[in-house]
């Protein structure tokens, strides 16, 4: 139940007075409430939990973490040579 998945915001609309949007989870598209992410834009990734976007995925931070991890991976590959 606590599962939350990152998906890409495809569009943003207003329904019954609140911000909704369609979010693409690797091909599966769902309607999601965007009320809690006033700053989110089309093309951004959002973390979605029980129909609500709760956090924007920060691409710069994701890149930083990945870079660190990849450097570790390179180290490993280097040692194996």
């Amino acid at each position: 139940m606590c599962l939350s998945v990152p998906g890409k915001v495809l569009d943003i609309s207003h329904e019954e007075g609140f911000r909704m949007g369609r979010v693409d989870f690797g091909g599966v598209v769902k309607k999601v409430c965007l009320e809690y992410l006033p700053e989110i834009r089309v093309g951004d990734y959002a973390l979605v939990h029980v129909g609500f976007a709760i956090s924007r995925v920060l691409p710069e931070e994701a890149a930083k973490t990945l870079k660190l991890l990849n450097e570790l991976g390179e180290l490993e590959r280097g040692e194996n040579r």
Binding site: C2, S4, G51
Partner: protein
């Protein structure tokens, strides 16, 4: 999928494992707080790959597992009423109550609906004005923004037929409870990343300081968890005890302010009973008085229900990191996901269910005390 697959690289995992091993000068016990983390750890066998000097124990962060039996019995009583549509997240359906579960109530003709979001319950209430629609609002801080939104919206629309049976839990007081238990072994935490996405990391700083424990909010992919364990171990070996955010792509120090505002306009903090553990002060949310019109606890006559718990289940010890599912004599024989004796065998985030699904009930002979 983007932001998922990148965090599953095997080579990097191996390097992280070596790095952790290289740091160890003694043994450490680390608790992953959230059931989603437990699921990843057991699925990828991370607990078995770790060097001997570091043990992960599974924490209380499964909302399905800790919802008190009394609430389950109340849910069952309400779901049996003729004029009610009872809405629940799917994994609450098989949680054993004192006598039955929601799944059986439904099979017996009760109108019980599995919903994906509290918004679906609101829609049902609008479409069925002659029925009372009751939503089982369980969860941690991750789910609180969604559930708060439902109550807010129901009041906004002046809905007369929408109610919430609330059983909400908060993580920080549960960590205090784990740490102050007399037989506690936990020395560091992987905090629940998605709880922190909502609440931020600041509320963990006093805990890290007071109990001198490293607290590292992590994500849910294997590399997230390994990196988190590496950071906890690094701090422990250095004698440090800080909040250190591994999951920076999703978690910020302040969390989601808009969500927090809505949570605290709808809910107030209360003492809360955790199934298998007992009452933990200030560890829950309940609806504020302004929302009494939508509170199932006030609208339905359920106060007198007296629960009775199976005596064989040791899920309380499992949820506090004192035991693992393999220690339970019922695990995998009397107790299976098809016939669960305890809530930790129901949800995919429950430690017993995770162990079962990933084949841990096929114990090697040397680990099977009953046949020794």
């Amino acid at each position: 999928m983007k932001y998922i697959d990148e965090y599953r690289d095997e080579k990097i995992a191996r390097t992280l494992l070596q790095q952790i091993a290289g740091r160890l000068t003694r043994e450490w016990v680390v608790m992953e707080v959230c059931g989603g983390q437990t699921h990843t750890i057991v699925k990828y066998g991370i607990d078995r790959m770790l060097p001997e000097g570091v043990r992960v124990v599974h924490g209380p962060g499964c909302p399905v597992c800790v919802t008190p039996l009394e609430k389950i019995d109340q849910a069952i009583a309400i779901a049996q009423l003729r004029d009610v549509i009872f809405c629940s997240f799917g994994d609450m359906m098989r949680v054993p109550g004192s006598e039955t579960d929601l799944h059986r109530v439904k099979a017996g003709g009760g109108d019980v609906r599995v919903v994906y979001s509290p918004l679906d319950a609101l829609t049902l209430a609008r479409e069925n004005p002659a029925k009372r629609v009751v939503f089982f609002a369980v969860g941690f801080e991750t789910t609180a923004p969604a559930n708060a939104f439902a109550a807010w919206q129901a009041r906004q629309e002046g809905m007369q037929n929408f109610f919430m049976l609330v059983s909400h839990v908060r993580v920080p007081p549960a960590l205090s409870a784990v740490l102050t238990a007399p037989d506690n072994r936990v020395q560091g935490f992987l905090a629940a990343g998605h709880v922190c996405a909502v609440m931020g990391t600041r509320e963990y700083e006093p805990l890290a300081e007071q109990y001198h424990v490293p607290i590292v909010p992590t994500g849910f992919e294997p590399l997230d968890l390994l990196e988190g364990i590496d950071r906890v171990v690094r701090q422990l070996e250095a004698g440090e005890a800080r909040v250190e955010n591994q999951y920076t792509r999703v978690v910020t120090p302040d969390g989601n302010r808009a969500a927090q505002e809505r949570i605290f306009s709808v809910f107030e903090i209360c003492d809360q009973t955790w199934r298998g553990i007992g009452e933990i002060p200030a560890s829950g949310f309940r609806l504020k008085n302004d929302f009494a019109a939508h509170d199932a606890a006030a609208a339905f006559d359920i106060a007198a229900i007296a629960p009775s718990e199976s005596s064989r289940c040791m899920s309380g010890d499992i949820l506090q990191g004192r035991k693992t599912p393999a220690d339970c004599p019922a695990f995998g024989n009397e107790c299976t996901p098809g016939n669960p004796l305890g809530a930790t065998m129901v949800s995919s985030e429950g430690a017993c269910a995770a162990f079962y699904h990933f084949g841990r009930h096929e114990k090697p002979a040397s680990e099977t005390p009953r046949e020794g």
